[in-house]
Amino acid sequence: MAENPTTTTPNLPVSSPESTKNPSGSTRPSTTMWDAFEHILMFISLYILATSLALILYTFVDKWVPAVRTGDYSYSSLFGGTLTRGYLAAIIVSYPFFAFLFLRITKRTKTNPLIKNLKARKSLIYFTLVVTFLISIGNVISAVYSFLNGNISLNFVLKLLVTLSISLLIFFYYVSQVKDDRKYV
Protein backbone atom coordinates (compact mmCIF):
# COMPACT_ATOMS: atom_id res chain seq x y z
CA MET A 1 0.00 0.00 0.00
CA ALA A 2 1.05 3.62 -0.41
CA GLU A 3 3.49 4.99 2.11
CA ASN A 4 1.86 8.34 2.36
CA PRO A 5 -1.87 8.02 1.77
CA THR A 6 -2.63 11.64 2.50
CA THR A 7 -0.69 12.90 -0.50
CA THR A 8 -1.91 10.38 -3.02
CA THR A 9 -4.69 11.53 -5.23
CA PRO A 10 -7.94 9.61 -4.73
CA ASN A 11 -8.05 8.34 -8.30
CA LEU A 12 -4.88 6.28 -7.76
CA PRO A 13 -5.96 3.68 -5.26
CA VAL A 14 -3.40 1.02 -6.20
CA SER A 15 -0.10 2.82 -6.51
CA SER A 16 3.25 1.29 -5.77
CA PRO A 17 5.97 3.22 -3.90
CA GLU A 18 7.85 3.95 -7.13
CA SER A 19 4.86 5.51 -8.79
CA THR A 20 4.13 7.82 -5.88
CA LYS A 21 7.73 8.99 -5.91
CA ASN A 22 7.32 9.97 -9.52
CA PRO A 23 3.91 11.60 -9.76
CA SER A 24 5.11 13.97 -12.50
CA GLY A 25 5.56 11.07 -14.97
CA SER A 26 3.85 11.65 -18.23
CA THR A 27 1.86 8.45 -17.91
CA ARG A 28 -0.52 7.69 -15.15
CA PRO A 29 0.85 4.92 -12.96
CA SER A 30 -1.83 2.43 -13.79
CA THR A 31 -2.12 -0.28 -16.40
CA THR A 32 -4.72 0.02 -19.09
CA MET A 33 -6.01 -1.95 -22.04
CA TRP A 34 -3.73 0.27 -24.10
CA ASP A 35 -0.64 -1.32 -22.54
CA ALA A 36 -1.96 -4.79 -23.30
CA PHE A 37 -2.70 -3.64 -26.86
CA GLU A 38 0.83 -2.27 -27.29
CA HIS A 39 2.28 -5.52 -26.01
CA ILE A 40 0.23 -7.59 -28.43
CA LEU A 41 1.31 -5.39 -31.38
CA MET A 42 4.94 -5.51 -30.27
CA PHE A 43 4.96 -9.29 -30.01
CA ILE A 44 3.21 -9.75 -33.36
CA SER A 45 5.76 -7.51 -35.08
CA LEU A 46 8.53 -9.36 -33.23
CA TYR A 47 7.29 -12.71 -34.57
CA ILE A 48 7.05 -11.40 -38.13
CA LEU A 49 10.45 -9.74 -37.90
CA ALA A 50 12.20 -12.75 -36.38
CA THR A 51 10.68 -15.19 -38.90
CA SER A 52 11.45 -13.08 -41.96
CA LEU A 53 14.96 -12.28 -40.71
CA ALA A 54 15.66 -15.99 -40.25
CA LEU A 55 14.24 -16.84 -43.69
CA ILE A 56 16.16 -14.10 -45.49
CA LEU A 57 19.37 -15.18 -43.73
CA TYR A 58 18.59 -18.70 -45.00
CA THR A 59 18.51 -17.39 -48.56
CA PHE A 60 21.87 -15.67 -47.96
CA VAL A 61 23.26 -18.96 -46.67
CA ASP A 62 21.86 -20.78 -49.74
CA LYS A 63 23.40 -18.13 -51.96
CA TRP A 64 26.92 -18.25 -50.53
CA VAL A 65 27.09 -21.84 -49.27
CA PRO A 66 24.75 -23.83 -51.50
CA ALA A 67 23.42 -27.15 -50.26
CA VAL A 68 25.72 -29.98 -51.34
CA ARG A 69 23.18 -32.41 -52.71
CA THR A 70 22.27 -31.66 -56.30
CA GLY A 71 18.65 -31.99 -57.23
CA ASP A 72 17.70 -30.90 -53.76
CA TYR A 73 16.01 -27.67 -54.64
CA SER A 74 15.41 -25.31 -51.81
CA TYR A 75 12.49 -22.94 -52.10
CA SER A 76 14.82 -20.01 -52.49
CA SER A 77 16.52 -21.52 -55.52
CA LEU A 78 13.19 -22.44 -57.11
CA PHE A 79 11.49 -19.09 -56.76
CA GLY A 80 14.58 -16.91 -57.03
CA GLY A 81 14.06 -13.37 -55.93
CA THR A 82 10.32 -13.66 -55.46
CA LEU A 83 10.47 -15.11 -51.96
CA THR A 84 13.39 -12.92 -50.97
CA ARG A 85 11.39 -9.86 -51.95
CA GLY A 86 8.55 -11.12 -49.77
CA TYR A 87 10.85 -11.41 -46.76
CA LEU A 88 12.28 -7.97 -47.52
CA ALA A 89 8.79 -6.49 -47.55
CA ALA A 90 7.99 -8.17 -44.22
CA ILE A 91 11.17 -6.83 -42.63
CA ILE A 92 10.77 -3.32 -44.01
CA VAL A 93 7.22 -3.10 -42.67
CA SER A 94 7.57 -4.93 -39.35
CA TYR A 95 10.91 -3.55 -38.18
CA PRO A 96 9.88 0.09 -37.59
CA PHE A 97 6.79 -1.08 -35.69
CA PHE A 98 8.87 -3.41 -33.58
CA ALA A 99 11.61 -0.87 -32.81
CA PHE A 100 9.11 1.85 -31.92
CA LEU A 101 6.92 -0.36 -29.72
CA PHE A 102 9.89 -2.07 -28.09
CA LEU A 103 11.43 1.24 -27.00
CA ARG A 104 8.08 2.67 -25.95
CA ILE A 105 7.19 -0.35 -23.84
CA THR A 106 10.63 -0.48 -22.23
CA LYS A 107 10.38 3.21 -21.39
CA ARG A 108 6.91 2.83 -19.95
CA THR A 109 7.85 -0.16 -17.81
CA LYS A 110 10.73 1.86 -16.38
CA THR A 111 8.44 4.70 -15.35
CA ASN A 112 5.52 2.49 -14.39
CA PRO A 113 6.62 -0.93 -13.08
CA LEU A 114 2.96 -1.93 -12.59
CA ILE A 115 2.99 -2.84 -16.28
CA LYS A 116 5.22 -5.75 -15.36
CA ASN A 117 2.22 -7.36 -13.66
CA LEU A 118 0.06 -6.99 -16.74
CA LYS A 119 -1.61 -10.30 -17.53
CA ALA A 120 -1.30 -9.88 -21.29
CA ARG A 121 2.42 -9.13 -20.92
CA LYS A 122 3.00 -12.21 -18.82
CA SER A 123 1.07 -14.52 -21.11
CA LEU A 124 2.81 -13.15 -24.21
CA ILE A 125 6.24 -13.47 -22.60
CA TYR A 126 5.60 -17.04 -21.51
CA PHE A 127 4.11 -17.95 -24.89
CA THR A 128 7.20 -16.50 -26.58
CA LEU A 129 9.48 -18.41 -24.22
CA VAL A 130 7.69 -21.68 -25.01
CA VAL A 131 7.76 -21.08 -28.79
CA THR A 132 11.42 -20.04 -28.94
CA PHE A 133 12.33 -22.98 -26.72
CA LEU A 134 10.44 -25.39 -29.00
CA ILE A 135 12.10 -23.93 -32.10
CA SER A 136 15.57 -24.14 -30.53
CA ILE A 137 15.17 -27.66 -29.22
CA GLY A 138 13.61 -28.86 -32.49
CA ASN A 139 16.56 -27.46 -34.43
CA VAL A 140 19.12 -28.98 -32.11
CA ILE A 141 17.35 -32.35 -32.35
CA SER A 142 17.36 -32.20 -36.16
CA ALA A 143 21.05 -31.22 -36.08
CA VAL A 144 21.92 -34.19 -33.88
CA TYR A 145 19.78 -36.43 -36.10
CA SER A 146 21.59 -35.28 -39.28
CA PHE A 147 24.91 -35.66 -37.50
CA LEU A 148 24.04 -39.24 -36.55
CA ASN A 149 22.98 -39.87 -40.16
CA GLY A 150 26.28 -38.46 -41.33
CA ASN A 151 24.86 -35.85 -43.68
CA ILE A 152 25.66 -32.66 -41.87
CA SER A 153 26.85 -29.84 -44.13
CA LEU A 154 28.12 -26.31 -43.73
CA ASN A 155 24.86 -25.05 -45.23
CA PHE A 156 22.93 -26.93 -42.55
CA VAL A 157 25.16 -25.73 -39.71
CA LEU A 158 24.90 -22.10 -40.80
CA LYS A 159 21.11 -22.31 -40.98
CA LEU A 160 21.08 -23.91 -37.53
CA LEU A 161 23.22 -21.07 -36.20
CA VAL A 162 20.86 -18.49 -37.70
CA THR A 163 17.81 -20.09 -36.12
CA LEU A 164 19.47 -20.68 -32.77
CA SER A 165 20.93 -17.20 -32.46
CA ILE A 166 17.61 -15.52 -33.24
CA SER A 167 15.44 -17.75 -31.07
CA LEU A 168 17.90 -17.90 -28.17
CA LEU A 169 18.40 -14.14 -28.24
CA ILE A 170 14.65 -13.70 -27.83
CA PHE A 171 14.47 -16.52 -25.28
CA PHE A 172 17.19 -15.20 -22.98
CA TYR A 173 16.03 -11.61 -23.26
CA TYR A 174 12.58 -12.60 -22.02
CA VAL A 175 13.98 -14.94 -19.37
CA SER A 176 15.83 -11.91 -17.99
CA GLN A 177 12.58 -9.92 -18.22
CA VAL A 178 10.71 -12.61 -16.29
CA LYS A 179 13.38 -12.58 -13.57
CA ASP A 180 13.20 -8.82 -13.44
CA ASP A 181 9.40 -8.81 -13.36
CA ARG A 182 9.32 -11.18 -10.39
CA LYS A 183 10.76 -8.44 -8.18
CA TYR A 184 7.61 -6.43 -8.65
CA VAL A 185 5.05 -9.12 -7.85
Binding site: L57, T59, G81, T82, T84, R85, Y87, L88, I91
Partner: protein, 246 residues
Protein backbone atom coordinates in the same frame (compact mmCIF):
# COMPACT_ATOMS: atom_id res chain seq x y z
CA UNK B 1 17.65 2.94 -20.74
CA UNK B 2 20.55 3.99 -22.97
CA UNK B 3 21.59 0.37 -23.42
CA UNK B 4 18.20 -0.29 -25.04
CA UNK B 5 18.84 2.56 -27.43
CA UNK B 6 22.21 1.05 -28.25
CA UNK B 7 20.59 -2.35 -28.78
CA UNK B 8 17.94 -0.92 -31.09
CA UNK B 9 20.61 1.07 -32.91
CA UNK B 10 22.71 -2.06 -33.48
CA UNK B 11 19.59 -3.96 -34.57
CA UNK B 12 18.71 -1.14 -36.99
CA UNK B 13 22.16 -1.26 -38.58
CA UNK B 14 21.86 -5.05 -38.88
CA UNK B 15 18.37 -4.92 -40.39
CA UNK B 16 19.39 -2.23 -42.87
CA UNK B 17 22.41 -4.26 -44.00
CA UNK B 18 20.20 -7.36 -44.36
CA UNK B 19 17.75 -5.36 -46.48
CA UNK B 20 20.59 -3.99 -48.64
CA UNK B 21 22.00 -7.50 -49.18
CA UNK B 22 18.49 -8.71 -49.90
CA UNK B 23 18.15 -6.13 -52.65
CA UNK B 24 21.53 -7.18 -54.04
CA UNK B 25 20.26 -10.77 -54.28
CA UNK B 26 16.67 -10.17 -55.33
CA UNK B 27 17.31 -7.09 -57.46
CA UNK B 28 16.21 -3.56 -56.73
CA UNK B 29 12.62 -2.60 -57.58
CA UNK B 30 13.91 -0.79 -60.70
CA UNK B 31 15.95 -3.68 -62.04
CA UNK B 32 13.06 -6.03 -61.28
CA UNK B 33 10.87 -3.87 -63.52
CA UNK B 34 13.46 -4.09 -66.29
CA UNK B 35 13.70 -7.85 -65.78
CA UNK B 36 9.95 -8.09 -66.19
CA UNK B 37 10.12 -6.14 -69.48
CA UNK B 38 12.90 -8.36 -70.83
CA UNK B 39 11.13 -11.55 -69.81
CA UNK B 40 8.04 -10.27 -71.62
CA UNK B 41 10.14 -9.55 -74.73
CA UNK B 42 11.73 -12.99 -74.75
CA UNK B 43 8.33 -14.56 -74.15
CA UNK B 44 6.88 -12.58 -77.09
CA UNK B 45 9.85 -13.63 -79.27
CA UNK B 46 9.14 -17.25 -78.44
CA UNK B 47 5.47 -16.88 -79.28
CA UNK B 48 6.39 -15.20 -82.56
CA UNK B 49 8.84 -18.00 -83.22
CA UNK B 50 6.13 -20.61 -82.78
CA UNK B 51 3.87 -18.68 -85.11
CA UNK B 52 6.63 -18.28 -87.72
CA UNK B 53 7.36 -22.00 -87.57
CA UNK B 54 3.69 -22.79 -87.98
CA UNK B 55 3.66 -20.49 -91.01
CA UNK B 56 6.77 -22.15 -92.40
CA UNK B 57 5.21 -25.55 -91.84
CA UNK B 58 2.28 -24.69 -94.06
CA UNK B 59 3.88 -22.43 -96.65
CA UNK B 60 7.46 -23.76 -96.79
CA UNK B 61 8.79 -20.21 -96.61
CA UNK B 62 9.26 -17.54 -94.02
CA UNK B 63 6.56 -14.90 -93.73
CA UNK B 64 7.47 -11.66 -95.47
CA UNK B 65 6.57 -9.62 -92.42
CA UNK B 66 5.09 -10.21 -89.04
CA UNK B 67 1.86 -8.85 -90.50
CA UNK B 68 1.64 -11.96 -92.69
CA UNK B 69 1.07 -13.98 -89.54
CA UNK B 70 -2.61 -13.40 -89.68
CA UNK B 71 -5.04 -14.72 -87.16
CA UNK B 72 -4.40 -18.22 -88.35
CA UNK B 73 -0.86 -18.23 -86.98
CA UNK B 74 -0.80 -15.56 -84.35
CA UNK B 75 -3.71 -14.46 -82.23
CA UNK B 76 -2.05 -11.44 -80.72
CA UNK B 77 -0.15 -8.56 -82.21
CA UNK B 78 3.05 -8.40 -80.20
CA UNK B 79 4.50 -5.01 -79.38
CA UNK B 80 7.40 -4.05 -77.19
CA UNK B 81 6.04 -3.73 -73.63
CA UNK B 82 8.02 -0.57 -72.88
CA UNK B 83 7.99 1.45 -76.08
CA UNK B 84 4.78 -0.01 -77.53
CA UNK B 85 6.43 -0.26 -80.95
CA UNK B 86 6.12 -3.49 -82.94
CA UNK B 87 9.12 -5.79 -82.91
CA UNK B 88 11.45 -5.71 -85.91
CA UNK B 89 11.63 -8.79 -88.09
CA UNK B 90 14.44 -9.42 -90.57
CA UNK B 91 14.76 -12.37 -92.92
CA UNK B 92 18.38 -13.49 -93.04
CA UNK B 93 18.33 -16.63 -95.19
CA UNK B 94 15.65 -19.01 -96.41
CA UNK B 95 15.44 -20.64 -93.01
CA UNK B 96 16.74 -18.08 -90.55
CA UNK B 97 15.48 -14.75 -89.36
CA UNK B 98 16.06 -12.36 -86.51
CA UNK B 99 13.79 -10.46 -84.19
CA UNK B 100 14.99 -7.14 -82.82
CA UNK B 101 13.99 -4.71 -80.13
CA UNK B 102 15.54 -2.54 -77.45
CA UNK B 103 16.30 -4.61 -74.38
CA UNK B 104 16.52 -3.17 -70.87
CA UNK B 105 19.25 -5.47 -69.60
CA UNK B 106 21.92 -7.93 -70.69
CA UNK B 107 20.58 -11.45 -70.64
CA UNK B 108 23.30 -12.35 -68.08
CA UNK B 109 21.89 -9.77 -65.68
CA UNK B 110 18.46 -11.30 -65.96
CA UNK B 111 19.56 -14.21 -63.81
CA UNK B 112 19.75 -11.95 -60.80
CA UNK B 113 16.07 -11.29 -60.86
CA UNK B 114 13.09 -13.45 -61.56
CA UNK B 115 14.24 -16.51 -63.46
CA UNK B 116 13.16 -16.63 -67.08
CA UNK B 117 11.19 -19.61 -68.26
CA UNK B 118 12.99 -19.66 -71.58
CA UNK B 119 16.40 -21.18 -72.27
CA UNK B 120 18.97 -18.44 -71.82
CA UNK B 121 21.51 -19.83 -74.26
CA UNK B 122 19.41 -19.31 -77.37
CA UNK B 123 17.82 -16.08 -76.17
CA UNK B 124 21.04 -14.21 -75.42
CA UNK B 125 20.84 -10.49 -75.86
CA UNK B 126 22.68 -7.32 -74.95
CA UNK B 127 21.36 -4.25 -73.23
CA UNK B 128 19.98 -1.74 -75.70
CA UNK B 129 19.04 -2.46 -79.32
CA UNK B 130 19.82 -6.06 -80.18
CA UNK B 131 18.64 -8.85 -82.41
CA UNK B 132 18.16 -12.53 -81.64
CA UNK B 133 18.66 -14.83 -84.59
CA UNK B 134 16.51 -17.92 -84.87
CA UNK B 135 16.56 -20.81 -87.30
CA UNK B 136 13.60 -22.86 -88.33
CA UNK B 137 13.90 -25.93 -86.13
CA UNK B 138 14.89 -29.18 -87.82
CA UNK B 139 11.63 -31.11 -87.23
CA UNK B 140 9.84 -28.41 -89.20
CA UNK B 141 12.55 -28.28 -91.90
CA UNK B 142 12.50 -32.05 -92.33
CA UNK B 143 8.77 -32.47 -92.21
CA UNK B 144 7.29 -33.37 -95.58
CA UNK B 145 5.31 -30.72 -97.36
CA UNK B 146 1.86 -31.02 -96.01
CA UNK B 147 -1.50 -29.94 -97.16
CA UNK B 148 -2.91 -26.94 -95.45
CA UNK B 149 -5.09 -27.61 -92.48
CA UNK B 150 -8.73 -26.66 -92.47
CA UNK B 151 -9.30 -23.24 -91.02
CA UNK B 152 -9.60 -23.32 -87.23
CA UNK B 153 -12.99 -21.69 -87.47
CA UNK B 154 -14.50 -25.07 -88.32
CA UNK B 155 -16.17 -26.98 -85.52
CA UNK B 156 -13.77 -28.95 -83.33
CA UNK B 157 -13.21 -32.30 -84.94
CA UNK B 158 -11.78 -33.97 -81.90
CA UNK B 159 -13.19 -33.16 -78.51
CA UNK B 160 -11.13 -33.91 -75.40
CA UNK B 161 -10.93 -37.61 -74.81
CA UNK B 162 -11.81 -38.57 -78.36
CA UNK B 163 -9.60 -41.24 -79.83
CA UNK B 164 -8.21 -40.42 -83.24
CA UNK B 165 -6.28 -42.75 -85.44
CA UNK B 166 -3.18 -40.99 -86.65
CA UNK B 167 -1.40 -42.21 -89.67
CA UNK B 168 2.05 -40.80 -90.07
CA UNK B 169 2.75 -37.94 -92.46
CA UNK B 170 -0.65 -36.67 -91.53
CA UNK B 171 -1.62 -33.84 -89.29
CA UNK B 172 -4.10 -34.07 -86.53
CA UNK B 173 -5.71 -30.83 -85.54
CA UNK B 174 -7.42 -30.46 -82.24
CA UNK B 175 -9.35 -27.50 -80.94
CA UNK B 176 -9.35 -26.93 -77.20
CA UNK B 177 -9.23 -29.82 -74.83
CA UNK B 178 -6.41 -31.34 -72.90
CA UNK B 179 -5.57 -34.73 -74.35
CA UNK B 180 -4.78 -36.04 -77.77
CA UNK B 181 -5.09 -39.75 -78.31
CA UNK B 182 -3.70 -41.37 -81.42
CA UNK B 183 -3.21 -44.96 -82.39
CA UNK B 184 0.16 -45.65 -83.93
CA UNK B 185 0.54 -47.58 -87.12
CA UNK B 186 3.02 -50.06 -88.48
CA UNK B 187 6.54 -48.90 -89.30
CA UNK B 188 6.20 -45.48 -87.69
CA UNK B 189 8.38 -43.55 -85.33
CA UNK B 190 7.26 -40.64 -83.29
CA UNK B 191 9.03 -37.45 -84.05
CA UNK B 192 6.62 -34.77 -83.19
CA UNK B 193 6.48 -31.07 -83.59
CA UNK B 194 3.80 -29.16 -81.83
CA UNK B 195 3.83 -25.39 -82.09
CA UNK B 196 2.01 -23.05 -79.73
CA UNK B 197 1.36 -25.76 -77.20
CA UNK B 198 2.94 -26.50 -73.89
CA UNK B 199 3.31 -30.27 -73.66
CA UNK B 200 2.85 -31.60 -70.16
CA UNK B 201 3.34 -35.24 -70.80
CA UNK B 202 3.61 -37.76 -73.60
CA UNK B 203 2.74 -41.32 -72.77
CA UNK B 204 2.75 -44.32 -75.05
CA UNK B 205 0.76 -47.30 -73.91
CA UNK B 206 1.01 -50.66 -75.66
CA UNK B 207 -1.82 -53.11 -76.25
CA UNK B 208 -1.42 -54.59 -72.78
CA UNK B 209 -1.81 -51.17 -71.18
CA UNK B 210 1.87 -50.94 -70.19
CA UNK B 211 3.74 -47.65 -70.44
CA UNK B 212 6.63 -47.84 -72.93
CA UNK B 213 9.21 -45.45 -74.32
CA UNK B 214 8.92 -43.39 -77.49
CA UNK B 215 11.33 -45.58 -79.45
CA UNK B 216 9.83 -48.90 -78.47
CA UNK B 217 6.35 -48.71 -79.81
CA UNK B 218 4.66 -50.99 -82.29
CA UNK B 219 1.68 -50.77 -84.51
CA UNK B 220 -1.55 -50.46 -82.57
CA UNK B 221 -0.05 -48.78 -79.51
CA UNK B 222 -1.68 -45.64 -78.25
CA UNK B 223 0.04 -42.32 -77.81
CA UNK B 224 -1.54 -39.95 -75.34
CA UNK B 225 -0.36 -36.37 -75.30
CA UNK B 226 -1.42 -34.18 -72.44
CA UNK B 227 -1.11 -30.53 -73.31
CA UNK B 228 -2.05 -27.04 -72.20
CA UNK B 229 -3.02 -24.47 -74.75
CA UNK B 230 -1.35 -21.18 -74.05
CA UNK B 231 -3.49 -18.13 -73.54
CA UNK B 232 -4.62 -16.73 -76.85
CA UNK B 233 -3.98 -19.89 -78.85
CA UNK B 234 -6.80 -21.96 -80.12
CA UNK B 235 -5.38 -24.99 -81.84
CA UNK B 236 -2.55 -27.44 -82.05
CA UNK B 237 -1.00 -29.64 -84.69
CA UNK B 238 0.66 -32.95 -84.09
CA UNK B 239 2.89 -34.17 -86.83
CA UNK B 240 3.87 -37.77 -86.91
CA UNK B 241 6.93 -38.05 -89.06
CA UNK B 242 8.22 -41.00 -90.93
CA UNK B 243 11.64 -42.11 -89.79
CA UNK B 244 13.59 -42.46 -93.03
CA UNK B 245 16.50 -44.24 -91.37
CA UNK B 246 14.41 -47.34 -90.89
Amino acid sequence: MYKYYIFVGVLTVFVISVVVFGFVIAGTPFSTRNTGFDNQRVSDFNNLRYSIEAYYQDNRKLPESLGSLTNEYSNAIYNDPQSGKPYEYKILTNTSYSLCTTFSLDSEDLEKGTPSYYPKQENKHKKGYDCITYKISSPVLNSPTSTKLPSPTTAPANLPGTTVTASFDRKESVDGGQYLYATLQSGDTASYYIPNVEIENIIIINKNGVKIFLDQFESGDQIIIKYNLRAGDSRMYVNFLQNTSR
